[in-house]
């Protein structure tokens, strides 16, 4: 991404965010630790990790929609300089959907089956904006459907009359209902065929350009991130493993976890390759290994890895990795 964009004050600035899940009398589980990143206007940031890495917790924290057991322990989330973690419930509700909206995973089940798609999009507008004029509301619904490539004539139809891809488009229309600055897309193409996935990714790319939309794409699939994102944040066991621009992540990854994820990825243009699986499973948050959380699965472990979680080292000013092996290349500079 051009440096001119990075130099501007960020639209969203998340720093040193710690989140716990509490379940007394058990000790709290460290769901997120030290999450720090920025999002510029018009930027697409990929947040990548396996199930249980904390990426969904992060999204819910940004929207302040954590379940009851979730506790934001430390850190800051600033939107245009305003601290979201200090807002009361009403101020946060006013901002949700109007500034930050979300496309939920599993469009198949996220729509209300007994109401028409048009009504559901109208509801999203009505809940967050003072639109009482029926005609203005209708016009806005038609515009939104048009924006996501659904014929306005299908607004009176029910979700079961839509295919999977169209339901996902309807979900996107709903997220755009109040013209948000940021859209969080949580696994927006899971359960869709590759061709429909390509259509949805194309749509997101077009909308981003057209509306200067910032996108947080949350996924376990490095492939769709390569298609859409400028920068990538790789998460593992609740911490940041690596954070850099997309080209660096795919061609100069410094963290062994990122490297392993890339090797596990099939490339259809290289038919003979053998896939390298990542042995073992991600850690449970209630049972974290001492030291670096990736040690049980890491091919490069040395003694120090068992003693402490490595901090984020700045490999370059725009490339950070939390691995002791990155310490030398970074000259020991913490991010």
């Amino acid at each position: 991404m051009p440096h001119a964009i990075l130099d501007r004050p960020p639209l969203l600035e998340v720093s040193h965010l710690d989140v716990d899940y509490v379940d007394p009398p058990h000790p709290p589980a460290a769901a997120l630790r030290g999450i720090t990143f920025t999002l510029q206007r018009g930027e697409a940031l990929g947040i990548v990790g396996e199930s249980g890495c904390g990426k969904s917790t992060l999204m819910l924290t940004l929207l302040r929609l954590l379940p009851a057991a979730g506790r934001i322990v430390a850190g800051s989330v600033r939107l245009d300089g305003v601290e979201l973690l200090d807002l009361d419930a009403r101020a946060m509700a006013a901002l949700r959907w109007k500034r930050i909206a979300m496309i939920f995973q599993g469009a198949m089940n996220a729509l209300n089956p007994v109401r028409t798609v048009g009504e559901q999009i109208a509801e999203a507008i009505r809940r967050h904006e003072d639109v009482t004029n029926r005609r203005a509301l209708d016009r806005r619904v038609s515009e939104l459907l048009d924006l996501v490539g659904i014929a306005a004539s299908r607004r009176e139809q029910y979700p079961f009359q839509y295919s999977g891809g169209m339901r996902q488009r309807a979900m996107i229309a709903m997220a755009l209902a109040c013209s948000p600055d940021i859209v969080i897309a949580d696994e927006p193409t899971t359960a869709l065929d590759v061709m429909i996935q390509a259509q949805i990714l194309q749509l997101l790319a077009d909308l981003r350009r057209q509306l200067q939309l910032s996108i947080l794409l949350v996924t376990h699939d490095l492939g769709i991130v390569a298609e859409l994102c400028d920068r990538v944040l790789v998460m593992y066991g609740g911490v940041m493993a690596e954070y850099a621009d997309a080209d660096t992540i795919y061609n100069g990854a410094a963290h062994p976890y990122t490297q392993a994820l890339l090797q596990a990825f099939p490339d259809p243009t290289q038919p003979a390759q053998k896939l390298a699986a990542i042995p073992g499973a991600p850690p449970r948050l209630t049972d974290l290994p001492p030291g670096c959380r990736f040690t049980p699965r890491c091919p490069h472990v040395f003694a120090r890895c068992h003693t402490a979680q490595p901090p984020l080292y700045a490999v370059t000013p725009a490339h950070q990795a939390s691995c002791f092996r990155a310490e030398t290349t970074s000259g020991g500079a913490h991010a």
Binding site: S51, V194, Q202, E227, A246, P268, Q273, L275, A277
Partner: protein, 333 residues
């Protein structure tokens, strides 16, 4: 030439649609699978690729006798299965096992791993002696990569990760010592990091145990790790079939080319020019005239609206159903 393990000829599966009203007489049908032919040898893996609704899962169900054929022949180890009585099917199914897509739903949550893997033996009344049964269960778990096996015997599915659950499903298939595994999207519900493990396991079973695999998927990206050959299906027909290398490196059918172009590249530097087909697979009730693919085909010409193309050889073991194949190939050379 000796008969292959599985020989599929002219297989057709039509689903009649119930008339909307009692006065409607015109019988309409869904053409789920329409004249499919292929062979599968022992220890060979064929990937069946296509979008939702192309008929690939219906084809799998007919191979297991779970959907009766409308027409055609399925020979397994030389035995005709089409129209065969239930006893013949039951015997064949011992050797044709299926792995389903979602290991979160395909395993009984109230049964232990040991019980889940034992059940197929009970159904087929095999290994009735306790010792023998235990030995086979342990061997199956071990072969599926759940080691040490005794550690998993008493666990319940909810205690396992998605990858481990899929391994349990594979163990329950392996315990019968099958010759053919039908795997319907076995990795699409799993994280990318876990997918590689399961794909490598299936590839390994194929080589080590000489088990044939019919691998069903919508994602051309996952087939190279396991398949020897690929058959691409569109609206109930195979439109291209050939060796993995040929189909992935020189796809000839415009549909295969489009499917391959949208597989996400694992690197932003390798972003391909996407051929994004608009809309979705059309209604298999009202099939388009001529080539079934012509309404979405980026290179369709007038003749494609009339001529229904048949599979024609374009190379050794490589066949394509498109009337423009030769013409388009010469143009690009």
């Amino acid at each position: 030439m000796p008969e292959p393990l599985l020989r599929v000829r002219g297989v057709r599966k039509l689903f009649p649609i119930k008339a909307a009203g009692w006065r409607t007489h015109a019988q309409r049908v869904v053409h789920a699978v329409d004249d499919v032919n292929f062979d599968l040898g022992a220890g060979e893996a064929l990937a069946l690729v296509g979008e939702s609704g192309c008929g690939k899962s219906t084809l799998a169900l007919t191979l297991l006798g779970l959907e009766p054929l409308t027409a055609g022949s399925i020979r397994f180890e030389g035995q005709e299965l089409a129209g065969a009585p239930p006893e013949v099917w039951r015997l064949a199914r011992r050797h044709i096992q299926m792995i389903f897509q979602d290991p979160y739903e395909s395993l009984n949550p109230l049964m232990t791993v040991g019980e889940i893997v034992a059940e197929p033996l009970q159904v087929h009344k095999l290994a009735t002696a306790t010792e023998e049964r235990r030995r086979r269960i342990m061997a199956a778990l071990d072969d599926a990569g759940l080691k040490p096996a005794q550690h998993f015997m008493r666990r319940f599915p909810h205690e396992l990760s998605g990858g481990q659950r899929q391994r349990v499903a594979i163990a329950a298939a392996l315990v019968l010592e099958p010759r053919l595994l039908v795997a319907d999207e076995p990795v699409s519900m799993l994280d990318v990091s876990i997918r590689a493990e399961i794909l490598n396991l299936l590839a390994d079973l194929k080589v080590r145990r000489q088990i044939a695999v019919l691998f069903i998927t919508h994602d051309l990206g996952t087939v190279s790790a396991i398949a020897d050959r690929i058959a691409v299906m569109y609206l109930g027909r195979i439109v291209e079939i050939g060796a993995v290398n040929d189909v992935l490196t020189t796809p000839q059918h415009p549909y295969t080319q489009a499917l391959l172009s949208v597989v996400p590249a694992p690197n932003p530097r390798l972003r391909r020019q996407h051929i994004i087909l608009q809309g979705e697979t059309p209604d298999p009730v009202n099939l388009p005239a001529g080539c079934r693919f012509h309404p979405r085909c980026p290179v369709a010409i007038a003749r494609c609206h009339q001529v229904d193309p048949v599979l024609q050889a374009v190379g050794a073991g490589h066949a394509v159903a498109c009337i423009r194949t030769t013409e388009l190939r010469t143009n690009t050379l």
